[in-house]
């Protein structure tokens, strides 16, 4: 018993080195090196390179390109190089970097015993972890991975010994059998070595065991079970149980100078950051003087997603509109089940657990529902029929002959007329009602529901979520229409479609969450309570949910609940949204290299084209996160590179709202940012490689080519304009917060996890202090700050005067 728990604890620790991998259908963003975040960035990437073989910094080539295109400011670079004692000129240093990088490790193609272990293991992992691709699944899966492999082993000629001697009944016995000759203190190293051997599959097992979804409870798999199989195979194939002598550790400690790559990278980051910070500080000063504008025609709440920045800018120029940024799950940690859906999804960031079950319930229009039901049952029956005909050996051949001509037509249409395919989709959409047209989310708390989590939200919770939203965004006045817009992508033939959906909703569309918040805010009882908490929503304010299609920039409004009195406002809004869409689509099409005049039609083609590997740029380019009122970034073109969270320091006296933003959205944006960073610097190890050779496996992931380890992270086409031309610039996130420095210091002092991230250099933080002449201060580690202009170190201590001053200013 005791050894069992010691083993599992040791395995758990070793598993920190492997990043969690989520199934493709809900592409959750995470730092692939999340387990190393307790180490300084440069040490972490070095350690990860030893274990996983991935590069931690951009290649010299990428630096050179950035240097030549002026992305790296020469003054900033010179200062940084000087600071760290590099006195050669940049060109020479790049040459030097290139020279060391050129010694590419030669790949050993001879088959080793470890390769044989990997081949057998990946074969059975794919069979066990399959989620419905195979019609004949691996036998005995319900007994767990180890037992299932144990039961096929005697028949598998590729396994040297399948007898019970080699495969004891319990997985822990198997581990102990293999490790019996090894000293206990070597075990953690053994576990780490074997867990990082196939990091794609083990990362998936780690995530699946932790999330405990329906597949996991039906067919359980644990890291211990996996290691039992792997170590047994290692033993049977005579492969190395202990990792080779870790002599690399010795050279890692040879000097404590900052690596040249780190200097180049931080100079590049500082160049971007200066531009952003100076623009924000500038606006902070001017915005403080000009104040007070009238009630806008409508207000929008968009996700903090970088793509929102573009559409927000275009909406603001299309009319008298005000836009806000808020985490795209709109603060509601819900498990959502769509109408007629087989599975429910957790529509909230993985930092939180879903707490409310929300289902789509049909309401008014029975006719629409019947049409929808008929359509969906017929298409489903058709799909089932085709599947059944294809999978039966006796019918598949005649099926192919009878249906072949139809496939030929579809082949030609989808390849030669992708724009028309989009039109056809739209036409079908028109004819068949969408579920959201006759359904409403089950918002109200249902005490009788028998589900694993509570159904709906109580009144108190509803009020709480609404109030939190307004407080975090520093909301003070309400227009006649308030649009809450989630976002989703629309792509064809794209296994990575969910990587383009809302990251705050764990790779799901954000529309359902928007509907829940809008429904709450339209509720009279909620409004009455909100009024008591100081949020006075006028009688004539109507909340409308919507969804921003990030591929075509169309903003669809779910206007079912809008009263007749607001029909004119709505009509005007729609017209302006069309204008905004045209502008945003033209800008984005240009970014995708389609030319300035391409616009909406081009984005529609990309949404429907099965041959398109770059339907949209997603969050590529992300580099900044601005926390502050929109006035600071209004009239700035941030080129879709910055997350924007609305926040008003003046309405947040106790700093609670800011603390929530720093510990929530800021951490999530850092995950997204590091995911893009690492996938760009090493697309093979931390990304999925090129889409053109992808092979989806088991409904959970993709292989490159024939099989092997599961690929993890973003594909090449999400990051690169061409194989040798990065579109995404691998920069760590630059956060800019608009608030008094002392307030931020205090929050950091209370939240060690966030401070650790900052101190270890996983992201940077700059504060533009409205109370100190709108000057900017860079966080310098250990709760100290440097002035952006003078580079002088300041260690502000919260004083009574400062606080008194702040209140006096108001």
């Amino acid at each position: 018993m005791n050894t069992d728990s010691a083993i599992s604890e040791s395995i758990e620790q070793a598993a920190d080195s492997v990043g969690s991998v989520w199934p493709l259908h809900s592409f959750v963003t995470a730092n692939p090196l999340a387990g190393f975040e307790d180490q300084p960035f440069h040490e972490a990437v070095e350690r990860a390179e030893d274990l996983l073989g991935g590069d931690g910094y951009p290649s010299p080539d990428v630096f050179r390109r950035a240097w030549e295109t002026g992305q790296i400011d020469s003054d900033v670079l010179a200062a940084k190089l000087d600071e760290h004692g590099y006195d050669a000129d940049p060109e020479t240093l790049l040459d030097r970097l290139e020279a060391t990088a050129d010694s590419t490790p030669d790949i050993d193609t001879a088959e080793t015993p470890a390769d044989r272990v990997d081949a057998v293991l990946t074969k059975w992992l794919a069979a066990f972890l399959d989620q419905g691709t195979a019609t004949w699944s691996m036998p005995d899966r319900e007994q767990g991975f180890y037992a299932a492999v144990r039961s096929v082993a005697p028949h598998d000629g590729a396994i040297p010994d399948g007898s019970a001697d080699a495969w004891p009944a319990a997985p822990t016995d198997a581990i102990e059998r293999v490790l019996a000759d090894h000293p206990r203190d070597a075990w953690p190293a053994v576990f780490e070595h074997h867990l990082t051997a196939l990091p794609g599959w083990t990362g998936f097992i780690k995530q699946r065991a932790a999330d405990d979804d329906a597949w996991q409870s039906t067919y359980p798999i644990t890291l211990a079970g996996y290691l039992a199989v792997r170590l047994t195979l290692t033993d049977l194939f005579d492969a190395q149980v202990l990792p080779a002598d870790p002599s690399t550790d010795a050279e890692a400690t040879d000097d404590d100078s900052v690596a040249l790559e780190e200097v180049w990278l931080s100079a590049w980051e500082a160049s971007y950051r200066s531009e952003l910070v100076e623009a924000v500080a500038d606006r902070s000063a001017t915005a403080a003087e000009t104040d007070e504008d009238g009630r806008p025609d409508a207000q929008f709440v968009f996700c903090i997603d970088t793509r929102s920045e573009i559409i927000r800018r275009h909406i603001e120029t299309a009319g008298d509109y005000e836009t806000h940024g808020y985490a795209g799950f709109f603060g509601i940690p819900m498990r959502y089940e769509g109408y007629d859906a087989d599975v429910s999804v957790d529509a909230c960031p993985p930092i939180l657990d879903a707490q409310h079950r929300i289902t789509d319930r049909p309401t008014a229009d029975a006719g629409d529902q019947a049409t929808y039901d008929r359509w969906s049952s017929v298409t489903e029956a058709g799909g089932k029929l085709i599947k059944s005909l294809k999978s039966n050996a006796a019918t598949a051949f005649s099926y192919v002959e009878s249906a072949g001509s139809g496939y030929g037509l579809a082949l030609a249409a989808r390849t030669l007329l992708p724009g028309r395919v989009y039109d056809a989709h739209e036409a079908t959409d028109e004819r068949v009602p969408d579920a959201h047209e006759f359904c409403e989310p089950s918002v109200d708390y249902n005490p009788d529901a028998v589900t694993e989590i509570r159904e709906g939200l109580t009144l108190d919770e509803q009020v709480e979520y609404a109030a939190t939203a307004f407080e975090l965004m520093g909301w003070e006045q309400f227009a006649r229409l308030v649009v809450v817009a989630g976002h989703a992508s629309q792509t064809a033939n794209n296994p990575f479609d969910s990587s383009l959906d809302c990251g705050a909703c764990a790779g799901n569309p954000g529309g359902p969450n928007a509907r829940v918040l809008a429904t709450i805010c339209n509720d009279e009882a909620v409004r009455a309570e909100l009024r008591e908490r100081g949020h006075d929503i006028p009688e004539d304010t109507v909340f409308v949910a919507g969804e921003h299609n990030t591929t075509t920039d169309e903003v669809e409004l779910y206007d079912g609940a809008v009263p007749e009195s607001h029909a004119d406002d709505l009509e005007q809004l729609r017209a302006d949204l069309e204008t905004a869409r045209a502008g945003a689509a033209a800008e984005r099409a240009d970014d995708m290299g389609a030319g300035e005049n391409a616009g909406v039609r081009e984005t529609e083609r990309r949404a429907a084209d099965w041959a398109e590997t770059r339907p949209e740029w997603g969050l590529a380019g992300n580099a900044g996160f601005v926390v502050g009122p929109r006035e600071l970034t209004e009239n700035l073109d941030l080129d879709g590179r910055s997350f924007l969270h609305s926040y008003d320091w003046a309405t947040d006296d106790d700093g609670d709202a800011l603390e929530a933003i720093v510990t929530g959205p800021m951490v999530v944006t850092q995950w997204i940012n590091t995911q893009y960073y690492f996938a760009t610097v090493d697309n093979g190890v931390y990304g999925s490689g090129s889409k053109v050779t992808h092979n989806p496996v088991g409904n959970v992931g993709v292989y490159q080519g024939n099989g092997g380890d599961l690929m993890t992270g973003l594909p090449l086409q999400s990051l690169m304009a061409a194989d040798d031309e990065p579109y995404h610039q691998p920069l760590r996130l630059s956060t800019v917060i608009h608030a008094p420095v002392e307030r931020v210091t205090e929050i950091l002092a209370n939240n060690e996890a966030v401070t650790e991230l900052l101190d270890n250099g996983w992201l940077s933080l700059t504060v533009v202090d409205p109370e100190q002449d709108h000057r900017a201060f860079h966080y310098d580690g250990e709760l100290s700050w440097t002035d952006h202009e003078t580079a002088a170190t300041v260690t502000p201590t919260p004083t009574d005067e400062a606080t008194a001053e702040a209140t006096a200013d108001d």
Binding site: E111, W136, E275, D342, T415, A611, D637, Q704, G705
Partner: protein, 494 residues
């Protein structure tokens, strides 16, 4: 401040002005031009009849123009698709050059009359395809897969070479047409040797079991290249057997062997497919099965049906390959329940099945005589039966759909197929021995029984009890281990 010229830009991303190579556009236009020309040739040949030839070198007959149209269509689709799909790839020029070279080599193959030209085109086709499998140069697993495929294709070329040499030596002719007219003068045993060699070459090229490993290890090819491989390349086996039909059909027992070899691959391929978890290998196993069926059709003497099958299968498989990205679903582990059926449902099912078979027999003439055509008509009836039964059992859908769908959708589909088959037969008129139905034998009966048993076994899931069979199937469908990417750092595309 920047004034009124629009919002001030902050941290603008640099322009990524990717230079677009010219090869994709040029080759795509060229291949579509070839398609139009082939269509023209097909029409002209149908109007004028007969064949055009450059004596001793090429002969353009019905099979030639038909396959020209087919291969340029598939190639055109793949070219057009790849222009967007492969955009930004550093291999794009080489990729398009290979695609186009492959197209040309197939066009030469189907027109070649001189045995040396025929053999050379066959070899060229294989070498170019192997190169496409290894499109990504810096990726060791892709190179291993290419090398494996190359070995198979060189072997099949040697087999073909040996067959051609034997026939040329025995007949004294150096052209395919010359050999075929002189077949009567050659002794049976020599013809059997040649036929055996031809069958082996066809099996390798069509990835029939046990020569399927190259196909299941070929997924390192970019998706459009796989589409072309599964819609075009693997068909070569069927084309070879049709070209040399007079040799292959010389012995009825040998035809039985062809049927059995094909049927075995057809059923085993489907079984292999059942255990696959990745999309492309699943499609690969399906191709092995479909090609087996096509060869079995040839073995039954229906060479025209085999050609129709490979064209229609090409549409189907190219579509599925090009849409592999769509195959990721969010599923739940619950098993779906099957519905129940009523007496009315049973009656509708039977009637529809009989109607399906009858319609097919009527339109194609297959199955109206007591010969091997009965087998094919029987399969059509079984498929119709199964389709109707599946829908009729599904009580979730409206009754009108349940009883009407299959008669209204499936019967026209059968008619379309029959139309394609008759059209193919018409175009092929004049090609030696397009249809040579064989007499029914005990072996045919066994093949029919095997299909029925397979149908029942799959419907009941009875075969799923054997762990041994499961493991054997999984192992038989493993790619060559050197082509597996187990260490992702080996993958350095850029």
């Amino acid at each position: 401040m920047t004034g009124q010229t629009g919002p001030k830009t902050v941290g603008q991303l640099p322009n990524t002005s990717t230079s677009t190579p010219r090869a994709p556009a040029v080759f795509t236009r060229f291949v579509w031009a070839l398609f139009v020309a082939s269509l023209g040739a097909l029409v002209a040949r149908q109007l004028t009849g007969g064949s055009w030839e450059a004596p001793g070198l090429v002969v353009v007959d019905g099979l030639t123009v038909l396959l020209w149209v087919v291969v340029t269509f598939f190639s055109g689709i793949v070219h057009s698709y790849s222009r967007r799909y492969m955009a930004g790839s550093e291999h794009v020029t080489r990729f398009f050059t290979r695609l186009f070279a492959f197209t040309l080599s197939v066009m030469v193959l189907v027109a070649a009359d001189h045995v040396a030209l025929f053999g050379a085109a066959w070899l060229a086709m294989g070498l170019v395809m192997a190169d496409l499998i290894g499109t990504v140069r810096g990726w060791p697993q892709a190179q291993a897969a290419a090398a494996l495929a190359r070995r198979y294709f060189v072997a099949s070329s040697l087999l073909l070479g040996a067959a051609l040499a034997t026939l040329a030596w025995a007949t004294g002719a150096t052209t395919v047409s010359g050999i075929l007219t002189a077949v009567d003068t050659v002794s049976n045993s020599i013809l059997l040797v040649a036929a055996g060699l031809l069958l082996l070459a066809a099996m390798v090229q069509s990835a029939l079991i046990p020569f399927h490993t190259w196909l299941l290890s070929s997924m390192t090819a970019p998706t459009p290249a796989s589409a072309l491989m599964h819609a075009g390349f693997v068909n070569a086996g069927g084309i070879l057997l049709l070209r040399f039909a007079p040799v292959v059909t010389v012995d009825a027992t040998f035809m039985l062997l062809v049927t059995v070899v094909g049927a075995a691959s057809a059923l085993l391929g489907k079984l292999l497919k059942a255990v696959q978890t990745d999309v492309k290998r699943k499609l690969g196993c399906s191709t092995t099965g479909q090609m087996g069926f096509m060869i079995a059709q040839a073995g039954l003497g229906f060479f025209g049906a085999a050609i129709a099958h490979l064209i229609l299968h090409g549409f189907y498989k190219a579509y599925l390959f090009l849409s592999t990205g769509e195959q990721v679903e969010h599923t739940s582990p619950e098993k779906s329940t099957t519905g129940t059926a009523t007496l009315v449902g049973g009656a509708v099912t039977l009637l529809t099945a009989v109607a399906g078979g009858a319609l097919f027999a009527l339109l194609t003439g297959k199955g109206t005589h007591l010969d091997s055509g009965l087998l094919l008509t029987g399969l059509i009836s079984l498929t119709t039966l199964h389709a109707t039964w599946t829908v009729v059992k599904n009580t979730d859908v409206p009754a009108a759909f349940r009883y009407g769908a299959v008669p209204l959708v499936f019967l026209p589909a059968i008619a379309v197929y029959a139309g394609v088959y008759t059209a193919v037969a018409a175009v092929l008129a004049g090609v030696p021995l397009v249809t040579a139905p064989t007499d029914l034998t005990l072996v045919h009966g066994l093949v029919a029984v095997a299909f029925l048993v397979a149908y029942v076994a799959i419907e009941t899931g009875a075969y799923q009890r054997s762990h041994r069979l499961y493991v054997a199937l999984v192992n038989a469908s493993q790619p060559s281990s050197g082509t597996l990417l187990t260490a992702t750092e080996d993958y350095n595309e850029y």
